[in-house]
Symmetry: C2
Subunit: 272 residues, 2 copies
């Protein structure tokens, strides 16, 4: 099954556009995990079990694992999702960007090593830095378009022939790069009007939307701006607000995560 | 010692602008390394020993290690360079690009985990995706500007206010982002006239220049276009042409690598 079909099925099965981001920061984990050599894996597994019926995708952020030499735990997390929740797409947030032969190595890392359904990539080096991923024709390629950080405007908002660069990227992907139907775009929730402009350019292409939750994006505006005509089309990511939902030491972190995930899913669904 | 000072010292000590790229492709390694579980490490170690007096830097490409779950071998390679050739800068070619807290994890990966002197990063997400690296004030941040691949033009050559995007990136870095003096730029050798334009914008800022050797860039034009007034300012990278210099099965790969590295260094020095 292709990434896009798997994602569509998950939107329906869980009635959810929520993507649960797995950004395990050791300093923020409940204390029982901090001295456990497999603590990141054990923590993420509980988060996954607590939210799997509420999510349309899981998205590990590879940087958090790389900083801790925890590739083995990332592997176990990916294996766990694929074994226990094979219907939930697994997105490797890696934002890779390199040319030909090297891009192919990154594709092998995401798709073959970790078994991800999709991987995030950076468009700065152009189509030949994206094309190698398409050899894996069932997998997804999620290309950075308009990012949710303040500095995103430094390049993405530059004027290119009367429109900002991020819209040019959206057009390139929609009109040229997506010939296999494998592409999606990253568009931040912090700029709902820009999300609407991207949606107008790309038709029904899925959008991965970070920036709600801890980053402060407005859910109503995000959903209204980014949904497709059938009320789907988005993976709206929340990471820290779910992972670190417990407010008190000793509070059950998994129940707290589930409660925030459910509230977020329902808040999104109000506006679909 | 800062990255820039270490690099300047290596230019002088080895009378070389050659950067030796470590892109170990298992299919291309001499047969004795292919079934050795530490074969990549052993191969790279011999390349390093054979070229360390000819190089101004070593540049492992992390994708080749990630695809093979060979982070342990990359660690051993980095440790080996730092122990045996502490005066040669170690550049982690990772082309990372992510925001604040996540960028900080990638900086930890490159600088703390692997002990790299510098890391390559992607500018698409703007200054707040670059700034976290600058907390490591002695290390270098090498920002993609104009890449050597054909598709590099898809974005980098777009017209922004009368000049191509890559020149805008060069100006941003030179005039704003480089306040700590830690920055360098990636500019491909395949477009010498563009290399000259970047040099004119950035003054004496170091340039990492891929694209000679297997990628076909012209050495004379590259050096004349990219050198600073004192005949330095560049790390001119060659990877495959050195690593896989041996032409016959059974030929000593390390001697062949040394011969090509020496010829390349000397060819570069002819035009400095």
């Amino acid at each position: 099954m292709t990434f896009i079909n798997k994602l569509s099925a998950a939107w329906t099965a869980n009635d959810s556009l929520l993507c649960v981001g797995l950004d395990p920061d050791l300093d923020k984990l409940p204390v029982q995990f901090r001295n456990d050599p497999q603590g990141i894996y054990h923590f993420c597994r509980e988060i996954i079990d607590a939210t799997a019926d509420l999510a349309c995708s899981f998205k590990p952020q590879i940087a958090y694992f790389a900083a801790l030499s925890a590739e083995d735990q990332l592997q176990r997390i990916c294996d766990y999702v694929r074994e226990h929740y094979p219907h939930i797409p697994l997105i490797m947030d890696a934002k890779r960007g390199d040319i030909g032969a090297t891009a192919r190595q990154y594709a092998r890392e995401a798709y073959d090593r970790y078994g991800a359904d999709a991987v995030t990539v950076n468009p700065y080096m152009g189509f030949d830095s994206v094309e190698p991923y398409m050899e894996w024709s069932e997998r997804g390629v999620i290309i950075l378009c308009r990012t949710s950080n303040a500095g995103g405007s430094d390049l993405q908002f530059l004027d290119v022939g009367g429109k900002p660069l991020y819209q040019h990227v959206a057009q390139l992907v929609a009109q040229k790069w997506n010939s296999n139907g494998q592409c999606a775009l990253v568009v931040g929730a912090t700029f709902p009007e820009e999300l609407a402009q991207v949606r107008a350019i790309v038709g029904d292409m899925p959008l991965l939307v970070p920036g709600i939750g801890a980053q402060g994006g407005d859910i109503a505006a995000t959903v209204k701006s980014g949904r497709t005509t059938n009320g789907t089309g988005m993976m709206i990511n929340s990471s820290r607000a779910i992972l670190y939902a417990a407010q008190q030491p000793g509070e059950d972190f998994a129940s707290a995560a589930r409660r925030v995930a459910e509230d977020t899913r329902d808040a999104i669904n109000q506006y679909r």
